[in-house]
Structures are given as C-alpha cells and as structure tokens.
C-alpha cells in the first residue's frame, strides 16, 4: 500500500495529540507535513498560567520538540502560513508558493482571542492572553507596575493572579455581576472574589469599559463608562475566543461559527477533517482541553479507517490559581425537576452546591474544599443512582454518617477583634476572656464586660459565645432564627453585618452559613434592608429582594391592580395638583378615588402596565411618589397651626413639610408615620404616631413609639425642645437609630419596647451621637432621597409583557 499524503494545518494541542495517536498506531501509514504559522512546535498552552506565575518554565511545557517530530518522520514547516487550498485538485499552497498535494487534510487552525473594538484597542501595550509572546509581555511587568485585565473568566483571572504574584498592581474589570459566571454561581463567585482581593487584586464588577486611553502611542489607562480612569502600563483583554475559520471558508467548506464537523470530525469534504478550537460540533464550540483530546483521538481513528464517534461530555473546570480551590462541573441551567443541596462552612470559607435531577447528580460547584471533586465528577458522568446516599451526599465519599451543620460556625469564625456589642464597643476576644475567667452566664458577662447590657440586641451572639466557650455546660435559650435558611436571629444577623463588614447578600449567605442557595421570601427583604441601612454607599438596593409593592412603587390590590398615591407634603395641595390628579384619574379609567387617613389622595385600580405612564403624567404637574407602599417614611400629617387656627401655637404645617422633605425616600425597618399638631388639642392625631410632635407655646414636645393599628398605644415623650431645628434633629436622629438597630418589620413601638425608652434617650441625649446619627442619615439620603416614579417612568418597557403570543398560541 502506498503511503497517503497527510497535511496538517496548525501545530496546537489538538493536532499534536492527534499526531501522537496516529503515529503510535501506525508510524508509516502517512507521509505527514505539518504547517504552523507560529515559528515553533506544539507546547501545552494551558500551562502558560503556571509559566506566568513563575511555577514552571517555557521549556517544561513543550510537549513536542524537534527530536520528537524527527522520530515520527513529520516534515515541519514552522513559521509558514498556508496561503490557499484547492479541494478539487487536492492541493495546499504555502505562503512561499510551494504547492503540495494531499490525500487527507486536517484543520487545526485554532482560535483567535476576541479583542473588544474599544477606541484605543490598537495601542501598544494592549494584548490578549493567548500565546508565549503575550505571556512574556506580562512576565515583563513587576513591582510598581499597574495592569488592567478586562474579563473575569478563567483566563483573565489566571493572568491577573500570575501577575499579582510578581508584585504587579492588578485590577480586573468584569462586566457581569460575579466572576466566572459561566462556571460558578454567585456564592462561589463571591468567595473567589474575596480570595483574589486577599492577594491584592482589585475586582470591579458590573463595570463597562468605554475607551482605552493612550500617550505617545502606548496604553496609559482604561476609561470606564462611569468616568473612572484606571491607570495601567499593560492592558490584557481576556474576553473570549473566536475560531479561525477564514482559511476553511476560503476553501469552500461548510462553516458556521466554527468549521462544521460530524461525529467523525470530518468536515463537509470527506477528505478534510478538523479538530480543536476551530471546529463547531452540533452547535457547540470548544475551549477546554478535555474535549479537544477526545476529538484528536477520534480524528486519528477516522484517518486510520477505524470506526470512532466524538461525543460531547460533561465538562469540569478548575482554576489554576494557587490558594483558590475551585471546581465546577456539569449543568446548572434549564432544569425540570431539579433540586439543590447547599453546604457552607463560614469558618473554613467553604461552599458546596450539588444539583440533583431525580436520582442523579447533574452538577456541582465547590469552593474552598475541592477534595471530593473527582468523586462528584465521577457521579455526574456515570449518572448512577444516588438516592440511597442523598442525605449525606454533600459530605463526600468518606462521610456517610449524618452529622448536621454546626449552627455556631458563623460566630466561631469571627476573629477576636470582631465587635459583638455595638453599644459598648465590646469585641469577641474580651467576652471570651471574661467567660474563661468565670463569667458563666449572660448576667455575669453583662456585669463584667457590659456586653449586651445596653440595648440587648447582641444577646443572641453573647449566648453563642458562652456556648462555644463552655460547651455543654451552658444551655442556650432557644432563639428564633429569621427563617429556615439560617440559624441566626434578626439581631444576630444585623450585628454580624456590621462587625464583619458584610456588604453584599452573597457575603451574608456565605459568612453566616445560609443553608439555601439564595434565601427565601422571608429573609431576603430583611437582609436587603439591613445591608442598605448599614452600607448605603457600598450596597446597591436589590429590587428582586423586595416585596412587590416596593419593587413596583405602588400597592398591589387583591385583583392584581395597583393603587397610586402622590405625595402631598404635610397634607398640603393646590388646584394645579388636584387637576393633574383628576386628569390622570380620567385618562387611566381609575375606578376609585379615595382620601386616605394620612391626608393624601389614593387612585385605586390602576393596571400594572399603566403605572409608568400615570407617574409620568403626575410628575409633569410636580407630583412625586407618596411612598404609600413602602417600609419607609409614609406621611407627615399636620393641622393648619398658626397659619389659620386661632389656637395654633407654632407653624405646625411648616414643620410637617420640612420633616417630610427631610425624611422622604428613606427606607426603614417598617413603615414610619409622623404627625405634627399645632396645639395640645391635637387635631393631627400626633399622639398615636411613630413620631408625633405637639407644638406648645414654649416649643415642641417630641413623642415616639405610638401605635394605632393592631395595637393602640399612646406615644411616649422623648424630649421637649425649644426650636423647630431641634425638633427636626431629634426626629431624624431617632429614625436613624431605629434604622440602624431595629429588627425588620418591627414598628418603632415594638423596637422601643425591646430596647427600652431609657436606652433610646441615653443614646440621643449624647450630642455627639446625635450628630453622628444625623450625618449617617443624611449620607444615606444622598442615595435615596429621589423620586422612584421619575426613575421608573424612564423604563416603561419593564412594566409591559415580554411578548404577546396570543396569535402563536392560538394556532
């Protein structure tokens, strides 16, 4: 049998492996010529990250050297590109004009990194992360240099970690909400971000790049959409790859996103095969090495005339960054009948999530402890029935006993300097020392350290410390956790958000040992409020963690329509506003118009789709949201005071309007209603409000913690003050103290009953503390004092149905 002529285009990992299989099986079957545009043979491209990090040298990752090619009788034409292919004549034309005939041709042209066409992308110092030249450019960076990496995927992060290990100041810019979003869920993404930040890498999420700025033809900085400039000496784009198909396309082969191949790796021409990152098989492209090796084996067998089938398999991912133990495999999306098992150990920074479909394991994400990943990956691939071990599956192969997760782990993980008692500034170490010194119950801890001796909201945490330190000697009273997702009370979670500086929901779920993937309808709104109250600048409100009324900025009614209540400052309105309200009621066929108990006008029965339009109309008349739906400031009721009333002692209307203008838009643990009455006759009914002010000749009586709902309760006097400005200060400080300390869904009267009015008075009587509270409230209001209706009216399409399938569905 005469030797067949085989030409291979591209010396990459896939063709390299194929040539190994081919020459191992039949050394003399083919007369092989290997073209490669790069002036070198095959090296292990996925090991470039360890080369960058300094863990390996280039020589160590060369897979095929000259001797190897010589031993296999392969003619190497390295540094030579292929100029064209004539499939009818079955010839390949090299760049230098040589024409070579072939019997079989294999494409291994690989892929090109995708460069985002930002202004300035062609500046010197803007590179991809693909080959040895790129790696060398990154290795040239050292201490004192700054690098920006665009792309928080596998490759981008390996590049970032490699350079950070060399002392480079690295910033990763990622457009999505968490890192490696294709392989990881949010929880693992959060842990990965924390690990990278601990290595000194800055991570910017949800960041859109706008332009690359240069000086003298060289990159100087990356400009983001929000105006931030990130100075850099080198900019690495690692945002994805595109198969190299131009040559195949020129040769007339069937090409989609990649070169189309069948299960035997044969293209639309029976004598032409393709393997690696340049192919498209069954709609899928390939970037990871495992399927490439499978393709290489199948292609070799096909060339040898053996029957072989390439089958796409479940893939797993591991990040090659020292200290970031991360693993993901299988499928997380598109599940009918799927369930999650979640395990978190905050003390060790461990997160594991298994996705189960029926009796099979179909996906796994692990962070921090990936020791069992091979076992889980095996279960995913084999599809074996796991129902017998389901209960203990998450604990891995070594453990099939059944211990439960330790509810104390979140507190155990706290460092000694973590503050437990915010009132008295007592940290964990001090409390543990006191317990070890003989304080064996809550009372003793309180008297020796003052911890939990003031407002008492850290009691749960102190009790957990007693239990941790004393073990079984201490019997902790049963505390009510927020919900089934965690073992901590509202007060514990609030305290820990502050002391551990938890600034995202993912951080809370992980560090406080949440047992579910992303909470439930009970804990999500509470955690969302605690985060935005404590970290107004750092945390961004999450509408999807809000009850429908606060997400839609309108009150849902029992028939699914909404009610719309415009704000009337202090209950004052005018003919223009009333006309606008009347016009809106006509235009949107509002069935019911009602005057509310809070001195407002309520338009009931508005359709959800109409909301942005009715808001826009009301906005035009100067009307803004009345927040009649929010756990926030609702209304300030007033009487007419000295303006018209013969008994009025002060300008109660004016004070009411000022208070409402100061407080509006703020979120609070529950709704907050105020009233200001101009004299003790109290026409504004101020004595049953959350804050009620009664004007008297000598000044203002500020009362708090009233109620007129399920419970009826008169306000208690907080303070008497001489001036209007004092009355506003005390009111704002009281509301901020409530925002910082109360349990979600406790009205002020319930919260004050728990902490005691004496404690509230002590806090607010301290002029420094009062000033701090007012400043903190003002800071938060720089974000939240704005009209949500105006904001939402701009996004009217969000309120419309996604699609109308009325016609399609009826066919």
């Amino acid at each position: 049998m005469t030797k067949q002529k085989l030409i291979v285009i591209g010396a990459g990992m896939a063709t390299g492996r194929m040539l190994e299989h081919l020459t191992d099986a039949a050394l003399d079957a083919f007369d092989i010529t290997l073209f490669n545009a790069e002036p070198r043979g095959n090296y292990n491209r996925i090991m470039l990250s360890p080369v960058l990090a300094g863990d390996k040298t280039y020589e160590e990752i060369i897979t095929h050297d000259d001797a190897w090619y010589a031993a296999r009788n392969i003619t190497c034409r390295f540094g030579e590109a292929v100029a064209g292919i004539d499939r009818t004549a079955k010839t390949v034309t090299a760049a230098n004009g040589d024409v070579l005939t072939y019997d079989k041709l294999v494409f291994g042209t690989g892929s090109t990194p995708f460069m985002i066409p930002l202004p300035g992308h062609d500046l010197e110092g803007v590179i991809a992360y693909r080959d040895l030249e790129d790696t060398e450019a990154m290795m040239a960076m050292g201490t004192g240099k700054k690098v920006v990496v665009i792309g928080g995927g596998l490759l981008g992060l390996e590049a970032a970690a490699g350079m950070a290990a060399r002392g480079v100041e690295v910033t990763v810019v990622h457009i999505m909400g968490h890192l490696m979003e294709r392989q990881l869920d949010e929880a693992a993404g959060y842990l990965l971000k924390s690990s990278l930040e601990a290595k000194g890498i800055t991570v910017k999420l949800r960041a859109n790049s706008k332009a690359i700025l240069g000086a003298d033809g060289r990159v100087r900085a990356l400009l983001l959409e929000d105006g931030t400039e990130l100075p850099c000496d080198l900019l690495v784009m690692a945002v994805g790859i595109r198969p190299n198909v131009a040559l195949a396309q020129g040769a007339g082969l069937a090409v989609g996103r990649g070169i189309h191949v069948d299960d035997q790796m044969v293209t639309s021409d029976a004598d032409v095969l393709a393997v690696g990152e340049c192919v498209e098989h069954d709609g899928t492209l390939f970037g990871l090495v495992a399927p490439l090796y499978d393709q290489a084996r199948v292609a070799a067998q096909t060339l040898l005339g053996e029957a072989a089938v390439f089958k796409q398999k479940t893939l797993s991912t591991k990040l090659k960054v020292t200290g970031c133990d991360l693993f993901s495999a299988g499928d997380f999306a598109d599940g009918e009948g799927r369930e999650d098992i979640v395990f978190r150990d905050p003390a060790r920074g461990v997160y594991k999530r298994l996705v189960i479909e029926g009796t099979r394991l179909v996906g796994a994400v692990m962070y921090g402890d990936t020791a069992d990943s091979t076992w889980f990956f095996g279960l995913i691939q084999s599809g074996e029935d796991i129902s017998e071990m389901r209960e203990t599956l998450i604990f891995g192969p070594a453990f099939q006993g059944g211990a439960s997760v330790d509810p104390l782990s979140a507190v155990a993980a706290l460092p000694p300097e973590a503050e437990i008692c915010g009132c008295n500034g007592i940290c964990k170490g001090t409390i543990v020392t006191a317990i070890e010194g003989g304080a064996s119950d809550l009372g003793a801890v309180r008297s020796t350290t003052k911890a939990s001796a003031s407002c008492g909201t850290c009691t749960g945490l102190v009790e957990q410390l007693l239990q941790l330190t004393l073990g079984d000697e201490f019997q902790k009273p049963a505390a009510q956790p927020i919900c089934g997702c965690c073992d901590l009370t509202h007060e514990d979670v609030r305290r820990l958000i502050k002391s551990q500086e938890l600034k995202s929901q993912e951080a809370v779920w992980q560090e406080l040992g949440w047992k579910t993937r992303n909470g439930c309808h009970v804990c999500r709104p509470a955690v969302n409020f605690y985060l935005l109250a404590d970290w107004p600048l750092e945390y961004q409100d999450d509408p999807q963690s809000r009850f429908v009324n606060e997400r839609k900025h309108a009150n849902i009614q029992k028939d699914g329509t909404f009610s719309v209540v415009p704000r009337m400052w202090g209950g004052i309105t005018n003919p223009t506003e009333l006309r606008a309200i009347a016009d809106a009621a006509d235009k949107y066929n509002v069935p019911t118009v009602k005057v509310t108990g809070g001195q407002r006008i309520d338009l009931l029965g508005v359709k959800g789709e109409d909301l942005p339009f009715i808001w826009a109309d009301l906005n035009k008349a100067g009307l803004v949201s009345g927040h009649a739906y929010s756990k926030g400031l609702r209304t300030v009721k007033t009487c007419v005071g000295t303006d018209h009333c013969r008994f009025g002692t002060q300008d109660s209307t004016g004070l009411g309007i000022k208070l409402e203008q100061t407080l509006w838009g703020s979120w609070t643990p529950h709704k907050v209603k105020l009233a200001v009455s101009g004299c003790p006759r109290n026409c504004a009914e101020a004595t049953c409000k959350d804050v009620g002010i009664i004007c008297v000749d000598s000044g203002y009586q500020v009362g708090v913690a009233g109620a007129a709902g399920m419970d009826v309760k008169e306000t208690e006097r907080l303070v008497d003050v001489p001036t209007e400005a004092d009355a506003i200060d005390w009111t704002v400080a009281f509301i901020q103290l409530y925002r910082e300390n109360a349990k979600y869904l406790d009205r002020p009267y319930k919260w004050v009953a728990k902490v005691g009015l004496g404690w509230v008075k002590d806090k607010l009587s301290d002029a420094d503390e009062r000033a701090r509270l007012i400043a903190a409230f003002e800071l938060s209001q720089t974000i939240y004092r704005k009209d949500p209706w105006a904001e939402h009216a701009k996004e009217a399409e969000r309120f419309q149905p996604l699609a109308d399938l009325t016609l399609e569905a009826a066919e």
Partner: protein, 109 residues
C-alpha cells in the same frame, strides 16, 4: 416541541420574572439563576395573585398576595393543595426560549 425565542436573558432581572401574554392568559417567565429560567401560569390558584410579581428564591416563587410558595420544577404549592401549570423553557446562547406547543396543548386539554 416548537421553541419560540421570547427575549434576551438580560430582559428578565436575576431572581425576578416577567410575563408574556398568550391566548390562554398570562404566563410568567422566572429567572432563578444567571442562566436558568422556568415558565408557569402567572395566576395563583388560591386568590389569583400575579406570580410574576412574587419573590423568586432557589427554584421557587412566593405569591405576593398570601405567600403561597410554588416549586417551579413541578408547579406544586408547598404545604397546600394547589398547583400551577409549568411549561418547558430554556436558555440558549443568551436567549430565552419557551415551548409553544405546550401552550397549545393546554388549550386542547
């Protein structure tokens, strides 16, 4: 099956929902994870609450009117005798697809 391209995945907020109109009433499309969607009838069997307005958590949704919790895999209400109809939905290359034949099948049933 006959898949219809409904929208880009980004049109539905993460852990949120949007609704689509069909001849048989509204269908809610829930986005439970970055690339995970479910579709089901929008109306709660209890008092008709709009489920697309509920809080989406795990692979469940809570009705905004009276907190009935539905498993989006099966449509079954947790701890209640009631269920919603679910429809095949999937994410492919950043687009959300829903099976239109199942919507028709429901009308024939």
């Amino acid at each position: 099956m006959s898949w219809i391209d409904i929208c880009a995945i980004g049109d539905i907020p993460l852990r949120g929902a949007r609704k689509i109109k069909t001849a048989l009433g509204c269908v809610a499309v829930f986005r439970t994870d970055v690339e995970e969607v479910f579709a089901a009838t929008n109306s709660c069997p209890h008092k008709g609450g709009p489920l697309s307005e509920g809080i989406v958590h795990g692979q469940s949704v809570t009705c905004p009117l009276h907190n009935w919790v539905f498993d989006l895999n099966t449509g079954q209400a947790k701890g209640e005798a009631g269920a919603i109809t679910t429809f095949p939905a999937q994410v492919r290359e950043g687009r959300v697809w829903i099976d239109s034949t199942s919507l028709v099948a429901r009308s024939a049933a």
